[in-house]
Every structure is written in C-alpha cells, then in structure tokens.
Amino acid sequence: MVEMPRDGAVMLARLRATRGLSRPHDPAKLRTLRAAAGRAGRVLIQTRTGDGPGVLLGWLEGSEPPGGDAGVGRRQAAPTVLLTFAVCLRACWPDPTHEPYPGAAASERQVLAALAALTSDVGQVGEASRGAERHHKGALRLLRATGLLDPDPECVRLGPVVALWPPADVACLRTFYQQLPAPPPEETG
C-alpha cells in the first residue's frame, strides 16, 4: 500500500483513487483523514491486508450512492463475471469460519480450470475452448479493475471491495458456502 500524504483532502483523494492505503501510524493523521472522509459522506474502515494494517473507504449510513429508480445506474455484472467471481471467492476463501478478506491467494490456472469444468461441454476442444477461456480471463481483468479482486496479475486474491461487504452479506455467503464451485487442487511440479 502507498504512504499517506499529510493534507486531509489529498489523503482522501489518494484513498479514493487507490481504494486502500496503509493505516497512518500518526493518530493525528488518522483523525485528519477520518474528518475529511466524513465531510464527503465516507467512513474509514480499518482492515488487515497482506502488507499490514490498512484503511479502506466505505459510505456513511445514508450517504450511499442511490440505486434502483433514483436515476443513478449501477454497473451490473454479467453472468460470466459473476460465475468467475464465485470461483475466485471459493478459491481465495478456504475457511468460511474466517472473514473472506484478505483470504488466501490462488493461482489463475486453478481458477480457469474450475471455470472450464463448470462451463465446458464434454469433448469441447480447440477454438471453442479457447474462446471460453478468453471470456474468463476478461472477467478476471474486470474484477481486478473494479476492486473485487486484488490488481496483482500474478495471482488471484480477493480485492478491497470484499472487505466492505456488510456482515449480512458475508453471513449469507457463509451459509451457502458449499454451493460455491470449488477449484481443482493445484497440480504440483
């Protein structure tokens, strides 16, 4: 994660642009950032990342972006993207008794193999198989760009947006955890 600047507005801007920052060691800085976030209808959410304590930006209650018939459109995920995310979620969340974020890393090969097993026809070979894999790789790129997955292209990790899920959502996924498609075991060698 990136180091924190001093000015509250700039801190908030950087946090918005990067989705997540290392938690400031200086309590005064943290207060400044929290105040700047509050003025913008946002709230700081402290979390633990692979790099240590971090802060993410959530919405203050009542300041969430409107949806439905409020005239503000939310970008909806296509079925392929949702299925790809379901596979990633199961692969990166091996123990449902823990919180899903930050979870564990999985390999892209594992995820693609699980998706292929779910969606390929038996005997599907050649161009059809490669076309399906291109779709799944495109879905992974979109999930990385939108924060549902970590942007690191070397592996598959859950992104900071997952840390912002409300407890009810996590409980729902935990209940139906077994329905999430499990990836095949990683081949060694």
Partner: protein
C-alpha cells in the same frame, strides 16, 4: 480555449471559498446580460458627468431610473396620443414608490423636460414623453448590457456606412477615427487597471462589457481598410487606430486570464456564461477539454455484486450432460461372451431333445411310448412328455408326436391318468447326430 477550472473540491462539494461571497454576489439570479442596479447608476453618473452641474446632479437611487422606465412604459403601452394625466402616471408607478417619492421624481422630470405639459382643457393638464429622453433610456439600457464598448461598434458601423454611401467627408472620417481610437485607448487602460487592481466583484461587472472583442477588432480592420482605399492620406490615422484596437484586445485577453485564474482558484462555474461553455465544448480539442478535469479525483470504476447474484449465477450453471454417444471401446470386454453362451445353451438343449427322441425311437421310424411313460413314473413322465412336445415343435428336429384321445386311468400307479403317445420320425434321420460337448453346461428344463 484553455480552461483549467477545478470545479469541485476533493469532497465533491462546490466551493465558494468558505465565506459565501460568491453566493452573495447573486449573479445567477440576475437577468443574463444585465448588471446590478447600483453599478448601472454609477455608470449613468459617469455617462452624464460631462454635462453635470455638480456632483449631486445625478441621483444615486436606482428608483429614479425605475420610475422613468415605468412612465416610458405607460406612454408606450397606453393609448397616450393626447398625453397622460399626472394621476394616470401615478397609477403606473404605484407599485414602485409611494406618493411622496413619485411627486419628487415627477417634479424633477417636469423641470428637466422629460415630461412636457400639453393643455387640452383649461382645467386639465396632460403630459407627453420627450423623445430625447427615450433615447437616453435606450442608451442607459445599452450601458447596462454592454457598457461603452457598444458605442465604439456603433461609431465604427456609422463610419463604414458613411464612407460607403459617400455622405461623410475626409474631416468627419478623420474625427471619427480619432474618436474611436481614443475610446479603444480608454477602455484598454481601464481594463489593464482592472486586471492589476480590481477585486473580483469589479471583474465580474466588467466581464459583461467585453464579450465581442473579435467582432470589434474585425470591424476596426474593415473600416481602416476602407479608409485607406477612399482616403489614403488617413492611412496613418487608421494604423494608429488598429494599434490601439490590438492593445485593447490584448487587455481583454489579460482580463480573461485573470478571470479564469480567479475562477480556477474559487472553483466557480458561474464566472463564464453558458454560451462560453457551449463554445468551448464545441470548438475545443479533446486535450483541452480533458485538461478541465486533469486535477479532478474520481473514484475508480466499481461493479455492483451482491451475494444473491453470485449464488444465482452458480445455480444457473450445472455441468452439462454429454450430447454424444460415447465411442465403442476398441477391445471386447474380458470374460465369456453372453450371446455366444446363450447360443451354445440353446444348441445343447436341442441336442438333448434330439438325444431323448432317438432314445425313445431306438432306430425305428415310429414307436408307442405309452408303456415307457408309465414306467418312468412321476414326475419323470412330465419332463419326458414336455421334451417330446418341444422336439416336435422345433422345426429343426424331424419328429412328430401323436397324442391319443383316450385316457388310461390306474388309481394305484404312480401316474394315475395317462394319454397314449406315439413318437414318429418325419423324414430320414440326420446322417450324423450333433456331437455332444463334454463340458456342456447344465440346462434347466
């Protein structure tokens, strides 16, 4: 147009610099193109200063101008050919001022000749509106809209039309060019002073009066070109005019830069007209337009994913059933062939029946087997009869069975009811009976 306005602060909230000054300036609720009345009155005072008797000659109260406008409107809208009475004028101004203020203004207007009395009847005085005052009101209106710059344009137009029609001579053209040049010089100096010293409020007032600089410059060049053709001796005067016009244009550019700096610093969209934004949007390059938001912070793109949607997507996908018949394996499965075994069992059963029939015939073509059946006893007799009937029904075996209609009854014998039976060979016996398998499987039956 290189606009670098930063309209929102990092919290996404439009800023007014923290003290609400922009809101107090009230520009958005003003009619487009007009200026606040106090500013207009100062401009009017400056306008009539050349002929004022003293510093208090012009009222600083905008009410005076409003009452004059209302009276002008009454004369223009009502049927006022014969003039209007004082009472009718008072009624037209009733919404603007009280009676004392009206009387004050009415007296001043009458004294200065804006309202001129006409006596139609001995007991009634009516008033008409002086056309010169109409011109004054129109000029004030133009002052409010475009300051004094529009007068330069008017003089340029008049000079050009006069030269083309030939009604103005060299001396008049010379005088007009000098007048226009001086006007450019005064406006340029004024703008440069504003750029250096004036507060934002004064910048905004001035901004309305310097919108059509390009048009003004084009007109000046046009007129000077016309003068150089018709009056070559005035070419030098014309060049000085163009030089002054360019200085004015540069001053306007400096003024706009200062205004944009202020706009950027205050993040205020309202400092430019809607028309100027539209022009910028239509004519600017993509890079120039992108520069407006170069320092604006956006949240990264997001995707709305809920647990329900994730689970629904998983439920919608099941491993698909193969639509193809699996290929036949290349090798036979290990173990005995069941079809071959059944065929062999069938052949063995046929051979048993043939052997039983030949055993009964003992080489003869026909034989009565009734005594043999009786001797076989129960249940062997049933098996033997069934074997004979099956052999007779098998088209591949050459035997017939004749069953008598008689019934032999012997209560003490193992078989109490017996029908006499004869076995008959239908044709010559096969040359050789099928070989018996030593290892044939036991057959039920």
């Amino acid at each position: 147009m290189n606009v670098s306005v930063f309209p929102y602060d990092l919290d996404g909230v439009a800023s007014d610099g923290g003290d609400g000054r922009l809101a107090q300036q009230g520009r958005l609720d003003e009619q487009p193109g007009s200026e606040p009345r106090d500013d207009l009155m100062r401009r009017v005072a400056a306008f009539v200063a050349p002929v004022a008797a003293d510093a208090g000659a012009v009222s600083d109260d905008p009410l005076s101008l409003d009452v004059a406008d209302a009276m002008y409107g009454a004369f223009g809208d009502l049927d006022a050919e014969g003039g209007l009475t004082r009472a009718e004028l008072a009624a037209a101004c009733a919404d603007l001022c009280d009676e004392a203020a009206f009387n004050n203004r009415f007296h001043a207007f009458e004294q200065l000749g804006m309202l001129q009395p006409v006596r139609g009847k001995a007991h009634q005085v009516r008033y008409v509106f002086n056309p010169t005052s109409v011109a004054a009101l129109l000029v004030f209106e133009r002052l409010a809209e475009a300051g004094g710059v529009s007068e330069i344009m008017t003089l340029l137009d008049r000079t050009r039309d006069g030269i083309r029609s030939g009604v103005v001579g060299r001396r008049q053209v010379d005088a007009n060019l000098a007048s226009i040049r001086r006007a450019f010089a005064v406006h340029a100096d004024h703008l440069l002073r504003v750029v250096r010293q004036a507060p934002l409020t004064e910048l905004l007032v001035e901004h309305r009066h310097h919108r059509d600089t390009e048009h003004l410059l084009t007109d000046a060049r046009d007129v000077v070109g016309l003068v150089a053709t018709r009056f070559p001796e005035l070419a030098g005067v014309g060049q000085r005019l163009v030089a002054e016009a360019l200085r004015y244009s540069s001053a306007v550019a400096a003024f706009i830069d200062r205004l944009l700096d202020e706009a950027s610093a205050r993040r205020d969209f309202s400092m430019l007209d809607a028309e100027q934004y539209l022009t910028a949007a239509l004519r600017s390059s993509r890079d120039d337009l992108a520069a407006v938001f170069a320092r604006t912070v956006f949240d990264p793109s997001s995707l709305w994913v809920s647990p329900d949607e994730v689970l629904h997507a998983v439920e919608g996908v099941r491993p698909r059933v193969s639509r193809f018949r699996p290929a036949r394996p290349d090798e036979h499965p290990s173990g005995p062939d069941p079809i071959d075994a059944a065929r062999r069992r069938s052949e063995a059963a046929r051979r048993r029946r043939l052997r039983a029939a030949e055993d009964l015939l003992q080489g003869a073509d026909e034989v009565d087997v009734t005594s043999r059946l009786r001797a076989t006893g129960w249940p062997g007799v049933a098996t033997l009869v069934a074997s004979m009937l099956t052999a007779a029904a098998d088209g591949a075996l050459p035997y017939d069975v004749d069953l008598s209609d008689a019934v032999l009854i012997d209560p003490d014998a193992p078989v109490t009811h017996l029908t006499p039976v004869r076995v008959r060979r239908k044709a010559a016996p096969p040359a050789r009976a099928p070989a018996l398998d030593r290892d044939e499987e036991p057959v039920d039956g």
